[in-house]
């Protein structure tokens, strides 16, 4: 009898050893599931965020990074929970073996049966019977995998990261190579056209001028309705700016670079008093000759127009004149963003459009109700086919525009070289009107 008990115990030990082996394998798989799954998520999303730091604009990067963080948390939590649920104790391993091996509860009964019940006359039969099914619950038969299948997503994620990270670097360096550097631009104060900055625009330029010119600029700003120091009144714009700056810092950190994009240096010059567009007796269309360059600037070249002062070489903000300084997006860069959401801007624009006289797009004014005598002006001298081009530019004094520009962000610039046959954006030249036609037209207007 004693010997029989020992025999039963030995058989029971064999069975429990096998179930323990299965349990070990299940727990190993659960651990692998949790770790590999979490790593797969972390690596995959990390690679995406890294690539986004090079390829996306700050706000898009911020959105993508936030989304990635959410997915990261959800994914890691999910994998963790699944791994926790898959962990197995002896009973759970026995249940699984019963189910997969078709043992109909034999193992669970053996594992769970308390000692008191083991005195049942059928206990030894149960142990013997279960041992007879030993081949059906060896760990490899119940769970054939030693390595979790999550290894595949993990490897995929790793491969994706290995592919994406260098690719992002390459793309970024290519973009940086073709991006124009900032430079110096000299513009006449009277040619400056002022308009409110777009919400969220970053300061991309700083304005330099002598004190008197700066005062005139301030006066001009006041006339145009831009109060000095007028910041962004819109909360949304403010938030956008904050978000952009935050995203920018994040991007810099991810890239591992702390170099700020160079600022455009705008030299203001005062070439004389600005003609009053509403002055009685003035001829608006004649003013077009001035307005050819109104609101536009030309690059500060030796053969430039007007007695513009040379840039101050002692200024730390002066940069060597770049080869690609003709960036048409510079007008946006110059907007410091502090005039965003200016409530007076709409009024200002409305005034402009109502008067029809502040439009500086070049060309004569053919406003309604104009004096027929002065309806036609002299043909506009054109610069068709001239080299170089002109763009409109908005600027503000450095005191306003350059504030906080220490971490200024320069949006990606588009380099669009002109073709030989491409004409600059200029008004179409007017031709002479035959005298007969002039009389006819004059009669029509007189009537």
């Amino acid at each position: 009898m004693r010997r029989s008990f020992r025999g039963t115990d030995e058989k029971l030990g064999l069975i429990l050893g096998q179930v323990t082996g299965l349990r070990r394998r299940l727990n190993s798989l659960a651990l692998q599931h949790g770790l590999l799954g979490a790593f797969a998520i972390v690596i995959g999303i990390g690679a995406l965020v890294y690539a986004g730091a090079f390829l996306l604009t700050p706000l898009w990067f911020l959105a993508a990074a936030s989304l990635g963080a959410l997915f990261l948390i959800a994914g890691v939590t999910s994998f963790g929970r699944t791994a926790w649920r898959r962990r197995a104790n002896l009973v759970k391993a026995a249940e699984l073996a019963d189910e997969r091996g078709g043992l109909r509860g034999r193992l669970v009964t053996i594992v769970q049966t308390p000692l008191a019940t083991r005195r049942s006359p059928l206990w030894s039969y149960l142990v013997e019977d279960t041992l007879g099914h030993r081949a059906e619950f060896i760990p490899s038969a119940i769970e054939s995998h030693r390595i979790s299948r999550v290894i595949f997503p993990f490897l995929g994620s790793l491969a994706f990261a290995l592919a994406v990270v260098p690719l992002a670097n390459v793309v970024h360096h290519k973009t940086a190579a073709i991006a124009p550097a900032a430079g110096d631009i000299t513009v006449d104060l009277n040619d400056l056209q002022l308009r409110p900055a777009e919400p969220g625009d970053e300061p991309g330029a700083e304005v330099q001028a002598d004190p008197s010119t700066m005062r005139q600029l301030e006066a001009k700003l006041a006339r145009e309705g831009f109060a000095p120091g007028q910041g962004s009144a819109s909360g949304v714009s403010n938030m956008l700016n904050q978000a952009r700056k935050f995203a920018d810092r994040m991007q810099q950190k991810v890239r591992g670079a702390s170099v700020q994009p160079p600022l455009l240096t705008l030299h203001l010059a005062d070439a004389g008093p600005q003609p009053n567009p509403v002055e009685p007796g003035s001829e608006p269309w004649r003013h077009g000759s001035n307005e050819d360059s109104a609101g536009q600037f030309q690059r500060d070249e030796p053969a430039g127009n007007g007695p513009l002062p040379p840039p101050d070489p002692t200024s730390p903000n002066l940069a060597p004149e770049p080869a690609g300084g003709e960036n048409p997006t510079a007008s946006n860069d110059l907007n410091s963003g502090q005039n965003q959401g200016n409530p007076t801007s709409d009024q200002h624009s409305a005034d402009e459009s109502a008067s029809g006289q502040r439009s500086t797009g070049g060309g004569a004014m053919h406003g309604i109700g104009a004096d027929p005598d002065s309806l036609f002006g002299a043909p506009t001298p054109t610069k068709l086919g001239a080299e170089g081009f002109e763009i409109s530019i908005d600027a503000r004094p450095m005191e306003d525009g350059a504030k906080g520009a220490g971490h200024a962000y320069s949006p990606p610039r588009v380099h669009a070289p002109l073709s030989a046959r491409q004409q600059p954006d200029e008004p179409i030249a007017r031709g002479d009107i035959p005298p007969d036609d002039r009389d006819t037209i004059k009669r029509v207007f007189d009537r």
Partner: protein, 346 residues
């Protein structure tokens, strides 16, 4: 192997004996394999059986065949409206002795047997029906203050006629709860009917050969019943049976669960007035033990419990009027409960 050697039966002995009894019964009963198996399961689980079937489906024949196969004493009571409890249990009568003296003596009723068939039990009054309660639950009969024990094995099979309900007395829940299983006898299919015709209209009736020796039958049946009790039930399996029973109770169905996986079966809450009693859980485990032995196992599995659940629980739950109006049967509710509990486990 002689059947006399079954005093300490093994699992294999049990399965072999069980199959032999089944085979003998099927010499007379055509079809109804599941009903016969459940009948024997109830017998070896020390329970009683309620057989429901329309007239002519072989209820009485089935019970008689079982008695013959087991070689145990067998009585039949036809329940009628005017049947009295004393007609079942027995009564004290005045007997005259040889010396002319008269004295009261207990005249044993038909309940004193091993296998009792109560035919159309729902035709008797509740008072008469309840006369069986003590006998079924405690294997004893009390008449005029004197208790008379019944000889084991004592196995009651009561039949119910689901039609002709006029003038019947539905069994009270307490009485229903005493039956371990409820077995349904359906109409035979065409092949079975042909076999029935040919086997019952010929010159010779098919005879049932007793499986046990006349004097040893009772003890051998009792030995097999003890073996059934020895089958091991793991705590997890017992918990599964308990959960299944609790899930039939509308008040508890939403709380039957492991941790967060709660079971909330809308069908139970909608159609069940009263769920199964604890006897239902006992019936589940006992009947499962017999099934495990038949499968050559010394342990019960969840599959055993699920296979006997409908027979063990369907007659223990009371459906409400909504169920009757929607045509819902207790068996449907039990099957739904099994799915819910199994889903919560997975």
């Amino acid at each position: 192997m002689s059947e006399a050697a079954l005093e300490i039966p093994t699992v294999a002995d049990f399965a072999r004996t069980f199959r032999r009894i089944q085979a003998e019964i099927h010499k007379v009963i055509v079809g109804h394999e599941q009903a016969v198996e459940e009948l024997l399961i109830a017998l070896f689980s020390s329970g009683h059986v309620l057989i429901e079937g329309v007239p002519g489906t072989g209820k009485t024949t089935l019970v008689k065949s079982l008695g013959l196969a087991l070689n145990l004493s067998f009585n039949r009571i036809q329940f009628t409206v005017d049947l009295m409890p004393a007609d079942i249990t027995g009564t004290r009568v005045i007997l005259s002795g040889d010396d002319g003296r008269r004295e009261f003596a207990f005249q044993r009723g038909p309940v004193f047997c091993h296998i009792l068939l109560g035919d159309e039990i729902n035709r008797a009054t509740p008072k008469t029906q309840s006369a069986l309660l003590e006998a079924m639950a405690e294997l004893q009969v009390t008449v005029s203050g004197t208790t008379y024990p019944l000889q084991p094995p004592f196995f009651v099979m009561a039949t119910l006629n689901p039609i002709e309900m006029e003038g019947t007395y539905p069994l009270p829940e307490a009485q229903l709860d005493r039956f371990l299983l409820k077995v349904r006898l359906h109409y035979p299919n065409e092949n079975e009917l042909v076999k029935i015709i040919s086997s019952t209209t010929g010159p010779e009736d098919a005879g049932v050969t007793p499986v046990f020796e006349p004097g040893a039958a009772a003890s051998q049946v009792e030995a097999l019943k003890r073996l059934v009790r020895s089958v091991i039930a793991a705590p997890a399996i017992e918990a599964y049976a308990a959960r299944l029973v609790r899930a039939t109770q509308p008040a508890n169905s939403k709380f039957v669960a492991d941790g967060a996986q709660s079971i909330h079966d809308e069908m139970v809450n909608r159609y069940v007035a009263f769920g199964s009693s604890p006897r239902g859980a006992q019936a589940l485990v006992l009947a499962s033990k017999v099934r495990a032995l038949l499968d050559g196992r010394a342990n019960i599995a969840r599959e055993d419990i699920e296979q006997v659940a409908v027979s063990a629980l369907a007659h223990r739950i009371m459906l409400n009027y909504a169920a009757h109006s929607d045509g819902i049967e207790a068996a449907q509710v039990i099957e739904r409960v099994i799915k819910s509990v199994r889903g919560a486990r997975d």
